[in-house]
Symmetry: none
Subunit: 120 residues, 4 copies
DNA sequence: GTGGTCTAGACCACC
DNA sequence: GTGGTCTAGACCACA
């Protein structure tokens, strides 16, 4: 996993977990990788992973069993979907619309690019 | 002009200038508002405007005439378009595609939302 | 480190780093002194150091690890050499040639002066 | 005449006059171009020319006949030579020596480049 | 009037 | 601890 420099690492880790929940790799009740192994795997400071997991816990996507680790909550899928949906509607979509207008891009071109994207 | 809190003000000023170049309000050879007046207008510190203008100069979008001010370069439109286009292809679009896939959104919904957006 | 008054301090700091790269004191991967300690050491405002480091980053000579500091890039030597070489060919050398022509200085005198310079 | 952006325009005008004195185009007693025509010719603000001429006057290279214009002094060649020589020894030469050392350039290469320069 | 630079100091996000 | 950004205000050189 490589970190784009323009976004906080802990947020990128959060997103990584969220994606795995939405695409079904992580299911309610699953234990997620412990902090230290995850830090080693991602080559980041353990504190950074702590921050990501705390954030996920605050959002209600994971919960903590003392001494055992972090687990996906029952509501994780719903919460994640809601969280991501808001982000999409309030941030991704406006940015996207503004850009295609400014760059004078025809909407059909996007459709073409999307079809290409799905093939890969 | 109101500033979104999650992005550096000087970048928002840069984007503001870029938009005015792309939509034709600013043309090659035009003088852009001087640093101090712009700072007053936007209610920010002059240093913040300096930073924006320096950035635009480094990018080749404006140039400086000693003691006279900043002017739009001949290539400004091309450079701005290229700069914004790269941002779109490498950042906006991937984020967008990833989101609609994860959220399982049908592409036609987007088309509908876009038509609504254009009416406003 | 004393600053010549006729050149911006932040440029002098940039040159100072560049020299240390070219003479091998700083090698790729090395961490350079953090902003605040460097500011204390050079007795300048931290902002001035920030400016120097940002400049070096834009040029590709150093890169930043979030929250850790600035590090010399792998290509630093090549870039620095190229940067300094261009400066030499396009600025230093023409100035030099023009001067010895205008002042009617024999090239051999320069050789003598250079030998003296190298002894010190 | 094109102005390099890294040096004050008025200094470049001064240098331009100095060169013409040293290479014999301007001789003691000659009248130099009046301020306004010179400003038009160089496409600069008349004030900038004023500044250059004042500088030359302070240095003793030109003198002013009220209402008639600026004229080259008798001592102009000597003064100009001295002025340029100091600049050469205290600024050009040290910069030059430092650069060839840092870039590890052999002195003989310079000789070659100089011979090429003189052919043009 | 214009920009260029610097200081002093603050707050914040992040590792 | 690290950098990133911003404010407030100053001084200077230049056109």
């Amino acid at each position: 996993m490589e970190f784009e420099s323009n976004q906080a690492i802990y947020i990128q880790i959060v997103d990584y977990i969220c994606e795995n929940i939405l695409n079904g790799n992580l299911k309610p009740g699953d234990k997620i990788t412990a902090i230290r192994p995850m830090a080693v795997k991602l080559e980041v400071n353990p504190n950074t992973v702590v921050r990501s997991y705390s954030f996920l816990q605050d959002t209600g996507i994971v919960y903590n069993k003392r001494g055992l680790g972090y687990y996906i909550t029952e509501d994780a899928v719903v919460i994640t979907k809601k969280y991501k949906r808001e982000e999409f509607l309030h941030s991704t979509l406006p940015t996207f619309f503004k850009a295609i207008d400014l760059l004078n891009i025809d909407f059909n071109e996007i459709k073409t690019l999307y079809d290409q994207y799905k093939k890969n």
